[in-house]
Amino acid sequence: MDAQQVTELATIGKSVVVKGELSGSEDLYIDGHVEGSIDLHNSSLTVGPNGDVKANISAKAIVIQGKVDGSLTASDRLDLRKSAIVTGDLTTQRISIEEGAFLKGKIDLQKEAGKGAASK
């Protein structure tokens, strides 16, 4: 991540607490506490190592380094890094899980467009 990207990334810092509905059309980095719902549609969401999120999340790409309690829907890809602790169902086309990540939930890997119907 270069300096320009860092300045353009919307960030919820680790001392920030948000309760409610988050939606938007730009990439978001959460290192704080969020409760509610998160809908970033065509953008990316990263939950940092200090992030603690209790929300259903929908985004194009989702990267989890912290703790999430809620369902995750990524239209493109989902990355669970080694420090991730996720409790909730996952729906995505592509998934990456590092050794050490903790997951409790159902995984629905949908076929990419043009490769057939979604797996059920």
Partner: protein
């Protein structure tokens, strides 16, 4: 809380003789149990598969690519949650079995066609093993299959704890499981310690509510057990 952390350390191997940053070991083994399960998943569609071993993207892809539904719960790590520890009347630290089952394996009865236990019973707190198997019986369909691995008496307490990645019809890749004990920094990864060795009678008793049980003996001090609900 320090005493809780201390009590949890009995579930991990000492790291004094191990290099701090050793890369995870990768081995392969042939598995008769996985071979039997492969015959089922290759002949049926839309099965619900519950994997209670370490979270594995490999296994998720392997089963979902064949059109099956995959559920993942890392029950060994979940069982080490310090919040589950309570004190009994004598002041001993014990695990709250009811709370564990309130928070884990919460599914409708008869949901799963296949359950992959891997080596969980050998590494889990003993008081949780039978209640966990009983809960698995409840959430499995009649006729469903459960696969578990048990060490033989020849396995020592420092037997490596592996995660099992399905790589083929009857092939597994084995990777050493290492994670930081609760309350320890992520840099202090350790491998879980073998808690006990079940003999055949113990295993049969553990699965007494199931319809049938089949043993496969392997060369690596492991008995594979395939039970039918």
């Amino acid at each position: 809380m320090a005493s809780v952390s201390h009590n949890l350390m009995k579930f991990f191997r000492s790291t004094s003789n191990q290099p701090a940053a050793a890369p995870p070991q990768k081995l392969t083994r042939r598995s008769s149990g996985v071979g039997e399960i492969s015959r089922v998943i290759n002949s049926q569609e839309g099965l619900r598969i519950l994997d209670v071993g370490s979270t594995s993207a490999n296994n998720i892809r392997f089963f979902t690519d064949q059109g099956h539904k995959n559920y993942s719960e890392d029950l060994l790590r979940a069982s080490l949650d310090p919040a589950l520890r309570v004190q009994d009347a004598a002041g001993n630290s014990i695990v709250d079995t009811k709370k564990f089952l309130d928070e884990n394996l919460v599914y409708a009865n008869g949901l799963f066609d296949i359950v992959l236990c891997w080596n969980l019973p050998d590494y889990m707190e003993e008081s949780l093993v039978k209640p966990t198997i009983d809960r698995l019986w409840s959430v499995m369909k009649p006729g469903g299959l459960l696969l578990a691995f048990f060490h033989t008496r020849d396995a020592g307490p420092d037997s490596t704890c592996y995660r099992y990645l399905v790589t083929g019809t009857d092939m597994l890749e084995m990777q050493e499981v290492r994670f930081a004990p609760p309350g320890r920094p992520a840099s202090e990864k350790q491998s879980p310690r073998l808690q006990r060795v079940f003999n055949n009678r113990h295993i049969e008793n553990l699965f007494r509510d199931f319809a049938s049980i089949k043993f496969f003996l392997a060369r690596d001090n492991i008995r594979e057990v395939l039970v039918v609900r």
